[in-house]
């Protein structure tokens, strides 16, 4: 029996994939299917799911409303479309900002003395030792009206005898953006670093030898060769930002509601799992579509494995 298994490569593969397959089947495929079924259902007045085939939840997500001014039976309510759009643009802005901050740092680390590189990478990873939620709360302490930033600016203004009213930074879209950028920065630095570090020094010399100055070398050699890292980082940042609700919950309050918050509230506050399920699926489809077009343009980013 064991001998036969040793010779049968296909059986070996199946055996190795079995645990994960079970896991994914029961904890991903089936729940996803249930979500789909529930999203076509209706909420009963007491908060239970009535299983039917209705597209009402989806229609509602895209603006159909029955809660209208007097005299109208239906009208357009942009609330949910706005939430979806806000999530998408926030994820896009976060990704762009994170790339623009992570790339120079990754470049700096990759070109640093080999002995120092590990120290720098270690420093990039240190924040990840602290719980995600606690780190977001730390930003709350920094940004709020009586927070560290306002205290320091206030003290400086006081010394210079300038009148100062504390900035309202917390519970703004900006606060959510800052929090997102902060949380996801390491996930962009690492893959970009990995791809930059792999570029052999002789390639820079070859470019210079062939007549390219520093700018042209960067644009024609460094950047294209590090694109797999950028792509991998983008996937690692864009997808979670689309779905996360903790950052917006803590730093955005009731002002900045993202699709993640919407889903969470449907399940926990509004007790409407059917609408929550529909929103979850729309989020998934949006993420898939964006990722699909992005990877088709830039490749899949082999660095995702290395990172």
């Amino acid at each position: 029996m064991l001998k036969r298994l040793r010779e049968n490569k296909a059986a070996q593969g199946t055996l190795l994939a079995l645990p994960t397959t079970f896991w994914l089947f029961f904890l991903l495929i089936i729940p996803l299917f249930l979500t789909l079924v529930i999203s076509f259902g209706q909420r009963s007045p007491d908060g239970n799911v009535i299983y039917t085939f209705s597209l009402n939840n989806y229609i509602r997500l895209f603006g159909y409303s029955t809660d209208c001014p007097a005299g109208q039976t239906s009208c357009f309510d942009p609330l949910y479309v706005q939430i979806l759009w806000r999530s998408l643009t926030l994820a896009f802005n976060t990704t762009v900002l994170v790339i623009s901050m992570a790339y120079p740092l990754a470049y700096f680390i990759a070109r640093a003395h080999p002995k120092k590189r590990n120290l720098f990478l270690f420093m990039v990873l240190i924040p990840l030792w602290t719980n995600f939620v606690i780190r977001v709360y730390a930003w709350m302490m920094l940004l709020r009206k009586e927070g560290a930033i306002n205290i320091i600016i206030g003290a400086v203004a006081n010394m210079l005898h300038i009148p100062f009213t504390p900035f309202e930074m917390l519970y703004t879209p900006g606060a959510v953006l800052v929090g997102m950028v902060y949380e996801f920065l390491p996930f962009m630095i690492l893959p970009i670093y990995t791809s930059l570090e792999k570029i052999d020094n002789s390639l820079y010399e070859a470019a210079a030898d062939l007549g390219a100055n520093a700018v042209k070398t960067f644009l024609r050699v460094t950047l294209p060769l590090s694109m797999p890292g950028v792509v991998a980082g983008t996937i690692l940042v864009f997808i979670p930002v689309m779905g996360t609700f903790i950052v917006s919950d803590i730093l955005g309050g009731r002002q900045v509601i993202l699709v993640g918050n919407l889903i969470q509230r449907q399940f926990l506050d509004a007790r409407d799992p059917t609408f929550g399920s529909a929103a979850s699926l729309i989020l998934m489809v949006m993420t898939l579509v964006v990722t699909y077009f992005y990877t088709r343009k830039f490749g899949f980013g082999e660095e995702i494995v290395a990172a």
């Binding site: 002789s202 030898d209 062939l210």
Partner: protein
């Protein structure tokens, strides 16, 4: 051309700080003049300063002292992209994200050449290295030998005044390497471009070069034609590094302008009429160098004054030649016998313990300074 010399290195010193914090001269007071159209090799083992010298000509490193001139112009701190030299890298350094065509076009685009001119010149360069039709491939889809040709073509397409080659054939297998050596030499003669070639392979240097600079410990030990460095090495290091040599210690008994007679204790004989290297004086302790292929073995005592009795201690058959190891009085010696006749009978070779006579012709020896 502006200058007689394509490249000139004047009193070049390059110092590095070692990881231990010590200062070390990788290149130590090197002066070289490389003529236009010459195939010039820098030969030496790793760490001799040959690659550092090449990198200073390319502009990747700047000399600590001294000056590099290209076509008579002092280079100072001119960056690589402003020097009219191009490099073929040891690792090829091909751009993996670009096709063969784009790799070659890269340098021309940097010059601001027009598309149709680029197309013409790239096509011509690919023909030259026999890679026609490969222009759409990525470097990874080529064999090692083909990648090497792409690297060569990428440098040549820029029509540099001087082409720098840093052990370009090092990664190829022996047979391909020999083919490429001859091809490179033919290409250089056809194009008339100055080639500066760095290698640790003495045979490669001898095969291709017009002149060779033999380097060791950051210094040029000897500069000369392949024949000069092989037949008239200027010191023991060169005699040992280029080819093989038997060395005997001795003392100069008498000395004329270009000949000496030397008493060699281990042979218990005074050999007369031996060629000398420069700077020797009478009575000096010297080293006599004899190439293994320049000694003849006879089985009969011919009663000649230059004949020495010896005993075979080992023989190694290596196909074209047989290496015969011998004891002469108290010295050990190696002789290289060509296998000019096809033989199978082991008795027809020299056997261990056999008594033989060696014929050392004085004109085939060389008297060198003791280090």
């Amino acid at each position: 051309m502006a200058s007689e010399f394509a490249v000139e290195m004047r009193d070049i010193v390059k110092r590095f700080i070692t990881p231990e914090g010590n200062e070390m001269a990788a290149v130590d007071n090197v002066t070289m003049q490389i003529k236009n159209g010459e195939f010039f090799s820098m030969l030496g083992s790793s760490g001799c300063g040959k690659t550092t010298s090449l990198r200073m000509i390319a502009g990747f490193e700047w000399p600590t002292e001294g000056e590099v001139y290209i076509e008579g112009v002092a280079m100072g701190h001119t960056p690589p992209f402003q020097r009219k030299v191009n490099t073929v890298f040891q690792s090829y350094a091909l751009f993996q994200h670009l096709t063969v065509y784009q790799n070659l076009a890269f340098g021309l685009e940097m010059e601001g050449a027009k598309d149709d001119e680029i197309k013409k010149r790239v096509g011509h360069a690919l023909d030259m290295v026999q890679l026609t039709g490969m222009d759409r491939r990525k470097p990874k889809q080529l064999s090692g030998g083909q990648q090497q040709r792409v690297a060569l073509a990428r440098a040549l397409v820029k029509t540099p005044d001087v082409l720098l080659l840093d052990e370009p054939l090092g990664a190829l297998d022996l047979k391909l390497r020999k083919e490429m050596q001859l091809e490179l030499k033919a290409l250089q003669q056809q194009l008339g471009i100055t080639f500066i070639y760095v290698t640790h392979d003495q045979e490669e240097a001898l095969t291709m070069s017009d002149r060779i600079a033999v380097m060791s410990k950051g210094k040029v030990q000897q500069m000369g034609t392949p024949v000069e460095v092989y037949e008239r090495p200027s010191n023991k290091f060169v005699a040992d590094f280029i080819g093989e040599s038997n060395f005997f210690e001795g003392k100069i008994k008498s000395l004329s302008k270009d000949e000496a007679s030397v008493f060699i204790p281990s042979l218990n004989a005074e050999v007369v009429g031996m060629p000398v290297s420069e700077g020797l004086v009478k009575g000096e302790e010297v080293v006599v160098s004899i190439r293994p292929e320049k000694i003849r073995i006879t089985e009969k005592d011919l009663k000649n004054t230059n004949l020495f009795h010896a005993r075979v201690t080992n023989t190694v058959y290596i196909g074209a030649d047989t290496h015969v190891y011998l004891d002469v009085n108290h010295a050990k010696l190696k002789v290289l016998e060509q296998n000019r006749i096809s033989r199978l009978d082991p008795k027809s070779f020299y056997v261990v313990g056999q008594d033989v006579w060696l014929m050392l012709m004085p004109e085939n020896t060389l008297v060198l300074k003791k280090d």
